[in-house]
Amino acid sequence: MPIIRVENLVKSYGSLTAVDGISFEVEEGTIFGFLGPNGAGKTTTINVLCTLISATSGKAFINGYDCLKEPSRVRKSIGIVFQDTTLDKDLTAYENLVFHAYLYGVKKSEIKGRVHDALNFVQLYERKDDLVKKYSGGMKRRLEVARGLIHQPRVLFLDEPTLGLDPQSRANLWGVITEMPKKHNVTIFMTTHYMEEAEVCDKIAIIDNGKIIAEGSPEELKKTVGGDVISLRTRDNEWSAGEIRKMFGIDSVEKDGELYLTTGRGDSCIPELIRGLGDNVLSVKLQRPTINDVFLKLTGKAIRDEDVSGMSNIKEEVRAYRRRH
């Protein structure tokens, strides 16, 4: 049985439909990536799954519990790391975790052990008695991940976990996240708009304008864009292009003095290519498609081309809707 099941979920704010009839399933113990540009409906979906907002129609289940009817049980089954920091900056890291443990009904005899383990896991044990306001952005995020694990959830939600972090903190956090499914027996549901980060996911769903436009493992998705691209510089492009046509039956394209050819399995092509062209080859470069290429192909726009003003408009509209109701 999948740990998360979503069927035809719709969430609209008046005339604005933030989530437009999405369905998906997440298997236990996997890392599920929910991808899309800002304003696509990722956070809205998370908020419905985490029982923070109600849905307009559709169904959602986590750990067998109905997100719309059994909020308390769902909440016990999940941990959440929100997009914005939700730590109490005037308390120490240790106190923040103990607070969380009490709030989630962890047995008193277990609190200390779990807090220590969680702090060790994210390598913050030495700094446990510092006030959170003295923490860097990366440390705060790690502390929130640790906090999300304190009550031993079945699913951990990570909403843009690496947003605003420097590369080193990001790599550090990724180390922590990818270790979690095995170490803590937890399923990860994460959103991100950094496409390269989605490579670690077992399964990805891409959402745009409230609809899921593609779903599958990163490899499967990348295959849909048509395979690897090999670019090479040669002494004689014309002759080489002819040789390549003879060898593989592929037409190559010349651009800026380089030859480009698209093929299914680039890595196994290269040795053959070099054997065939001999010392005509000056350099060879293999480019594999990225998830961003997938997104580009599906929507005709890059995922990072976020229209910031458009985004704040959506947030404004949601706020205005809430005020009216």
């Binding site: 704010y13 067998g64 909020p71 959440i80 607070f99 009490y102 031993q152």
Partner: protein, 277 residues
């Protein structure tokens, strides 16, 4: 007989039993109060200003005003405003404590609380009791000034004052929570201070008896929860039972109003904390 292991995985069983659910709610209430108390102790400046404000009112405003009040009014003016100053201490510290929800919203921490598997009612009660604890402590400190003002209070009266302080603190704290549900950012704080808290203080019978107010103001005072708390304190603290400066309502009425309002504030706030649309 062998003791068979449960068939359902442990996570499915969690929180199913009634006593475990109650244990969870109590835990949540406890930890909300503990957090507030910890922060209260850590922030010395908050405690100092909380004590300094009533002192300023008592000795600067009170002493100055006492010259204007006729000596045959029944008691010195500084004695008259003492219950009002206790009420003011409770008003400010309770509202400050509850309004911190707006800060928590601004800094995101409130989502951590709302995402927890506890009833919204427990969250309101927990926040309400947080305000109650810190306000009652401050009121108790101010109460120790009574001999300086020439008031004579027996042990029973002191206990009564403390009980009233607890009830009033809870009432005002839950009122503050209700206010906080309507505001999203701390810019609204000055609006709340100037248009709700200050009028509440002036129209509470703290500075002048409600019975001497012109009719419209007297009606406004009677709609103010703080009026009843201060009146209850007057009932206990004042030696005189008649005259222009005596209490305006009976102690039973005062306490009944406070308790009913507290209940209403808790229920309404809890409803407003339910899931957003």
């Amino acid at each position: 007989m062998f003791h068979l292991p449960p068939l359902t995985p442990p996570y499915k069983r969690r929180g199913n039993k009634c006593h475990e659910l109650i244990f969870m709610e109590f835990n949540a209430i406890y930890v909300l109060v503990a957090r507030e108390f910890k922060k209260f102790i850590r922030e010395r400046s908050r405690l100092v200003s909380a004590i300094a404000r009533p002192l300023l009112w008592l000795f600067l405003v009170g002493a100055g005003m006492s010259r204007l009040v006729s000596p045959d009014a029944g008691m010195p003016y500084t004695q008259f405003i003492f219950p009002g100053i206790l009420g003011m201490t409770i008003l400010f510290s309770s509202v400050f404590s509850s309004i911190s929800i707006i800060w928590d919203k601004e800094f995101g921490f409130f989502r951590e609380i709302l995402a927890a598997p506890v009833s919204r009612m427990s969250i309101v009660i927990g926040k309400g009791l947080s305000g109650t604890v810190v306000s009652t402590i401050q009121a108790a400190i101010v109460l120790m000034l009574f001999p300086v003002l020439g008031l004579r209070l027996g042990p029973l009266q002191i206990v009564e004052v403390l009980i009233i302080s607890i009830a009033l603190s809870f009432c005002i704290s839950t009122f503050g929570i209700l206010l906080a549900t309507f505001y999203e950012s701390y810019e609204s704080f000055s609006v709340i201070m100037n248009f709700i808290i200050m009028p509440m203080f002036f129209l509470s019978g703290a500075m002048y008896p409600v019975k001497l107010l012109p009719k419209p103001l007297a009606v406004a005072a009677q709609l103010n929860p703080l009026t009843y708390g201060i009146d209850a304190l007057k009932n206990v603290i004042f030696p005189v039972e008649e005259g222009p400066m005596s209490a305006d309502f009976g102690l039973v009425t005062d306490m009944a109003v406070i308790l009913i309002l507290s209940f209403a504030f808790v229920v309404i706030s809890a409803r407003l904390f339910e899931r957003k649309k």
